[in-house]
Symmetry: C2
Amino acid sequence: MSYRAPVEDIIATLRHVAGLDGLIAEGLAPELDGGLTDAVLEEAAKFAGDVIAPLNRVGDTHGSTLKDGVVTTPPGWKEAYKAWTEAGWNALPGPEIYGGQALPTLLQSACTEMWNSASLAFALGPLLTIGAIEAVHAHGSEHLKQTYLAKLVSGEWMGTMNLTEPQAGSDLNALRSRAERVGDGTYRITGQKIFITYGEHGMTENIIHLVLARLPDAPPGTRGISLFLVPKYLVNADGTLGAHNDLRCSGIEHKLGIHASPTCSMAYGDNGGAIGWLIGEENRGLACMFTMMNNARLNVALQGVAIAERAYQQALAFAGERRQGTALDAPKGSAMSPIIVHPDVRRMLMDMRAKTQAARAISYMVAAALDRSHRETDEARRKAASERAAILTPVAKAYATDIGIDVASTGVQIHGGMGFIEETGAAQHLRDARICTIYEGTNGIQAIDLVLRKLPLSGGNAVKALISEMRGVVGKVEGANTPGFGHSAARLKAAIDSLERATDWMLATMGARPGEALAGATPYLKLFALAQGGTGLARKALAMRAEENGAAAVATARFFAEHVVTEAPALELAVTEGAGAVEDADAVFAA
Amino acid sequence: MSYRAPVEDIIATLRHVAGLDGLIAEGLAPELDGGLTDAVLEEAAKFAGDVIAPLNRVGDTHGSTLKDGVVTTPPGWKEAYKAWTEAGWNALPGPEIYGGQALPTLLQSACTEMWNSASLAFALGPLLTIGAIEAVHAHGSEHLKQTYLAKLVSGEWMGTMNLTEPQAGSDLNALRSRAERVGDGTYRITGQKIFITYGEHGMTENIIHLVLARLPDAPPGTRGISLFLVPKYLVNADGTLGAHNDLRCSGIEHKLGIHASPTCSMAYGDNGGAIGWLIGEENRGLACMFTMMNNARLNVALQGVAIAERAYQQALAFAGERRQGTALDAPKGSAMSPIIVHPDVRRMLMDMRAKTQAARAISYMVAAALDRSHRETDEARRKAASERAAILTPVAKAYATDIGIDVASTGVQIHGGMGFIEETGAAQHLRDARICTIYEGTNGIQAIDLVLRKLPLSGGNAVKALISEMRGVVGKVEGANTPGFGHSAARLKAAIDSLERATDWMLATMGARPGEALAGATPYLKLFALAQGGTGLARKALAMRAEENGAAAVATARFFAEHVVTEAPALELAVTEGAGAVEDADAVFAA
């Protein structure tokens, strides 16, 4: 099943929801002046559709395999990666002095979506490299930067993140891997890591591992964790590769999805210790890790959008071809109609489309806020943008990945019996999507992050500013005199009212009764996403309604408001009056 | 991961929701008098947990394979089936004169749930045999009954249903398989069938295929379809097996889940035609098929309940063992707590539990109504029961299978990264569950069936009677003076109000504007299920609240009311004011 990047909606979302035009007009993205955005997106779309997308199914059926310590990626994988890096795509986000293009996150994000629609398993590797680049660039010594960054930026080498250990998943307090000071500025790393994405493979000549470990005299808990750079092959002073470091892949996982992405168990220090270099300060590894993580969460959100888009395209194509039954208004004895004429199938397709575009809207808003948080010249505006990015990141990550599963599952449903057959490809999207709600912080952790750490920013005013903007959109829908919006304004208004009341309840409750607040964290996050996504789609539709495809934008916004946003009052109740039912679980689990 | 049948909740649901006690008291289930129910369920629980459940993962990893026309089922499969039939479990539903026990559907259903929790792929085969027994018993000639029923009832032979062809899935109008009259009372069948569950295997000596085909002079469409019995091996007059019939398995599918259940492509008549016998009358095959189908839909509903129960048990056990983070009220420096202490994990577990039990409640209500539809002595009461079964069957099928996927997916989420690893087993439940919303009529078709064919029964009064019963339950919750119910009464009342308004809208709309009615069919069905399931759980909780585990029943009913039923008003809006947004899809799909 082919993939054609939805360049039109991507550009419309960048412009009308994420505010690309404003960014350029304010001089905050001078490199995008003069139509570069469209040109980059068209080229990326071509590469994603023509080169990567055809490998998605191959990657799923072959998977990556481990034999005698060697990981083999699927046929065509290495060649596609080489072509992709040679075309410069890996360098899009990298700093310019190391050969990168340092393009705005907004534009990068649109491309990230495309690579992941084409193949989640393929695009995942480079996302980890970006994280490694960011950590080394922000916290690494000059020596580390000079030795590693150019190769990582070009994609000649790939990077990994080594956090998880069997006993330490979400809770890094329990980390046990150890690092010993040698005295020459290097460290010796020992320990076992699991779930290391692209931990071993032959796609690049070297792999640069970023590894969390404890020094012998480190305090317990997360304040005693340091971050180390541990290359697969040591790098000589002249940049050539030296000896193999004391590390190996001890196993790869047999997973539900993303089969082509090797998920490795890594053993460090079988023979005395892998040689590592400290990144940042001793015992401050977690701060370095967080640098990588916020961006990574946005990228996982984009994976959710990406898989939903791919599943939608496949279901739409199938529904236009597969004939079963006849249309309600067809004359008796008519031949079978394509199933897209059936109201319930249309409803499902609209549901897929609207959720995908809403998740795209929220995710691109995060990207725009990140750009402003770096590029605004005014300190207060930088801070406001940074807080906005902080608030919307968990919302985007959790909502986009939740709907990724939801939309992919509806895609299977539209295929009927064929959807359950692996050769069709619809089921792969569901299997692949299933990881996104788990990694980079489970969606439950995103909800906790939103409620406990993000809502209180600027005393709650950062959230209130977003809510106030949402109300502005509703006002414009009300005044738009566009019948196609149907009941959108009323539904959005109800959702924003619910969000505001739930926000007030959260702000009042989290300090005194955190257990109650946390019982409602997940429904609160979803409520936030519905209001944010619904107003995002409405904003895009308002801007586009006079254009050629304006009616489609209005119809999509309307569907989301009338069929999805409607859940908002129920979510408010779950937040504000639902904690008791969660607490009563004592009676159940004690039984 | 082990499975222990939830005998306690099964019995409570049978008694307090499905009305088992009343059935017995009214003399309608004399065979269950004197504690037989408990004894049967305890034995079934033992067999399901000890013998079948351990095979579930083996079945998934080995799958069934096809080589040179021979299908091999996974190791242990044949032996378990033999033990299961020898213990008499296959004969539970069969007619007594053919060696069956003819136990009430209510009791059978509880057992069916258990077999399917233990292994969906295992239990699926015997479900098809039940369908074959019903069709032959209701419509077959005396010769067919004498030749086949005893062996099918004992399980010595298995049966299949052959409906689907590549061009004819949900739409049987397009069926092409042909049957020619030979003149000796037999027919020659030719054609290709796909998606035939347990179409070929070596678990039994013979396989009895029920095949839909057209006679040469048949009218087009579904009024020209006849049903034939086509055995794999012809049966001699003395009951021994004769020649292999002209049929073969031409392929088996590579599926997302239920790997152990061979899903076969069947070729009939490669060498002139398979010998078949007509079941019922010529061109009336569809009516015979419907006999099998209603019960089959209940059984698929029970599969949804079953997989949800298994996923819940696995997630609950994991959450009690896996340690990450510390409880909110734990002293600083405490060791990690089991994740079941975290409010969001508790919320997810309660969500799984409440949805599973609500789906069980609705499904068992269907079974009870089916029993009354056969066993009531009064004609009017039989009709009322039959209409109730007709209404609740699509509700149970669609809701239970939808939550089957939902609950299994939450189970994966609770496992975190481990949930994505196949060895854990959580992912298998999600993969297995995914078929249930598709086969035996997609859930979209269930919703259409509910709205177009079931709502109008007795001029809408059959539905209204159910709604009125639901109101009675709310009255009792209001008067119960049990604080543990929290806001349950208010939430249930709101849902029933929504259901009643949506029902009136549907009854008024389906004739004049069927397209609008069908656009809301799926949300309508879900709304129905929330009100029915919510009041079902409340009824059980009311009956149990003074018992030892009463608090758990009340807490579960409360969670469902406060966190799940709350969506009802949103669903009402989708039904009564959401059709426009679906119709506007024209602007989208034409673009």
